[in-house]
């Protein structure tokens, strides 16, 4: 633990009127960390992700990435710095094919200025996109419209698009929600393998404690806008509060989790 933190969150706060969605959040993330974020609905997990990625402006506190504050930067700048994310409800271009979605993502990541006027559709890019889709196990879906493929495929596409920028940190917001129990493990296996190859630091919000236990090297437990536990899975998941409030609900949540979407904003 001697390396400098890649992401530091200090005394982060977010209030919506009288509602406190986050308060006193302190987190230090080191390169190549695998952090699972757990908590009940409304605990502040997605709010946390939204603040780190610039979608929500914190009411107080600071977020520093590689030593620099990223407060006040909109999502696209945060993305360009190297913090990317996926979404609980996959955000894809529904009227385009899976392949086109990824080509577009690659083009936007690679082109700036006048190069944006060029046709994104180069044979090189298409080739790489097909290869990536194959790596994510959805190569056979490449030419289907993204609005029509299964939720699992969309989830993977969503993550693949987030990876187009070759981020240093990737935040996954419930990567396995809304898909069947069998698909969950397959998705996590595929995604984590791809992320390992790239050496990306990962924070993932997850309700399924088995997945958390299997893939997280560290767990952050949220409750009522605070972090109530932060540590290795065996410690955090056995924290009394966590056991009582989160795990108790979450360990059997497989069936219910599928119905929970759309969840907290």
């Amino acid at each position: 633990m001697t390396t400098a933190p890649i992401l530091e969150v200090k005394r982060l706060e977010k209030r919506f009127g009288a509602v406190v969605a986050a308060t006193g959040i302190d987190v230090e993330v080191r390169p190549r960390d695998r952090i699972g974020i757990i908590g009940t609905n409304g605990a502040g997990k997605t709010t946390f992700v939204n603040m780190v990625t610039g979608y929500l402006e914190p009411s107080g506190g600071d977020i520093r990435f590689e030593g620099r504050s990223v407060l006040g930067r909109p999502p696209r700048e945060v993305t360009r710095l190297g913090i990317c994310r996926s979404f609980q409800v996959p955000q894809v271009f529904g009227s385009r094919t899976v392949l086109e979605n990824l080509v577009m993502a690659l083009a936007l990541a690679e082109a700036t200025g006048l190069a944006l006027l060029a046709d994104p559709w180069t044979s090189d890019r298409a080739e790489r996109a097909r290869r990536t889709l194959a790596e994510y196990g959805i190569g056979d879906q490449a030419d289907r419209e993204a609005g029509l493929v299964s939720q699992g495929v969309r989830k993977l596409l969503d993550i693949a698009m987030a990876m187009a920028h070759r981020p240093k940190i990737l935040l996954l917001d419930e990567p396995t929600s809304g898909v069947s129990q069998e698909e969950k493990l397959a998705i996590m296996a595929t995604v984590m393998e791809a992320l390992d190859r790239e050496g990306v630091t990962v924070l993932f919000v997850e309700h399924d404690m088995d997945i958390v236990a299997r893939y997280a090297g560290r767990v952050l437990a949220f409750m009522e806008g605070r972090i109530i536990a932060d540590g290795p899975p065996q410690d955090a998941l056995n924290h009394p509060k966590v056991l009582e409030v989160i795990v108790g609900e979450g360990s059997f949540s497989g069936a219910r989790a599928t119905q929970r979407e759309p969840a907290d904003a």
Binding site: T53, Y55, P74, P75, R76, T79, R80, C84, R85, F87, V89, Q91, V92, F93, G94, S95, R96, E100, V103, M104, A105, A107, L108, A109, A111, A115, L116, L117, A118, D119, P120, W121, M161, A162, A164, H165
Partner: protein, 328 residues
């Protein structure tokens, strides 16, 4: 989730797909040559209709750039009038050169679009439509108030010259047709190339999912702003051509019903191809000519019915009926 306001309208058929698209230059050039050739063959009244269709199509070309992003402007008459009045001011200053006039119309409208774009890029859906309408009506009010510009009467534009060459009366219309065709050729190619580019294709992405666009590191505001400026510039070019074709400018060019007519033609055309506005504008002018000819007292019934029929039975616009576009 994403309630794309104009999803069905903007659903681009096969030609918009990023599959092996061929270069647009050749077909557009053929189209422009055909129009100019038609200028030799058609009777005078049809020449007039072609001229009107061409400047109208330029405005609609801009509208489909916006429509691809799900945005519909009910105030495009603002830029149309700015382009026309730019030619008017030049004419008053004794500048009659075609190229200067077209560029002035484009620049004036584009510059105004750039400024107003900072505001309008924050709006979507009906609010975008209404705010753009409000701006066009403010210009209308200003022009009506300007007695030195002839108020509602407007003022006449001197005949156009071409790099020093002043066509005589018999070839004046034909010269305008060549000018309009060349300008339309350039505009259509520019738009076709733009729509193929990453920024152009971003339009559909913006319509589909703005949040994803932002999280791909692109600026939705910038993408919309660029489209808005392009649409404004094209409307300005259309207005400049209109001023030269009509030989007169007046505030009614900025009135909201004029904007409504542009949107009308856009609906009629569909957004599937850069050719669509030209087809739509031509059909619109023909319907209009037939309607006013056969029932001068009730031509709006015919025009309105045509519009209703287009909305009800040809939701993808006339272009979607073309054999090539029907594949999808």
């Amino acid at each position: 989730m994403s309630a794309a306001p104009s999803a069905t309208l903007a659903a681009a058929p096969a030609s918009a797909r990023p599959t092996r698209s061929r270069s647009p230059v050749l077909p557009i050039t053929i189209g422009a040559v055909l129009v100019i050739a038609a200028g030799f063959a058609v009777p005078a009244w049809l020449l007039t209709i072609l001229l009107f269709a061409l400047f109208r199509a330029m405005v609609v070309l801009g509208l489909i750039v916006l429509l691809r992003a799900g945005l519909v402007s009910f105030g495009q008459a603002l830029y149309f009038a700015v382009g026309a009045y730019a030619v008017g001011f030049l004419s008053r200053a004794g500048v009659n050169d075609a190229l200067v006039r077209v560029l002035a119309g484009a620049l004036a409208a584009g510059a105004l679009g750039l400024v107003l774009g900072f505001l309008l890029r924050r709006y979507r859906g009906i609010f975008f439509a209404m705010l753009s309408l409000a701006f066009s009506m403010i210009l209308y009010g200003l022009l009506v108030k300007s007695e030195s510009l002839g108020s509602t009467d407007g003022f006449a534009i001197h005949a156009t010259t071409y790099a020093g060459y002043a066509p005589d009366r018999s070839s004046e219309r034909f010269a305008l047709l060549v000018l309009s065709s060349v300008v339309a050729w350039a505009g259509a190619i520019a738009v076709a190339l733009y729509l193929r580019g990453t920024l152009g294709r971003l339009a559909e992405a913006v319509r589909d999912n703005e949040i994803r666009v932002e999280y791909l590191g692109a600026s939705v505001a910038m993408a919309v702003h660029v489209k808005y400026v392009i649409a404004a510039t094209l409307a300005g070019v259309g207005g400049a051509l209109a001023a030269m074709v009509i030989g007169h400018v007046d505030p009614a060019m900025a009135y909201w019903t004029n904007s409504g007519e542009f949107v009308f033609v856009m609906i009629l055309s569909g957004s599937g191809s850069v050719f669509a506005p030209f087809l739509g504008a031509l059909v619109f002018e023909l319907i209009h000519a037939v309607a006013t000819h056969y029932s001068p007292g009730a031509w709006r019934i015919i025009l309105g019915s045509a519009l209703l029929a287009a909305i009800m039975f040809v939701p993808g616009g006339l272009w979607s009926l073309m054999p090539k576009a029907r594949r999808s």
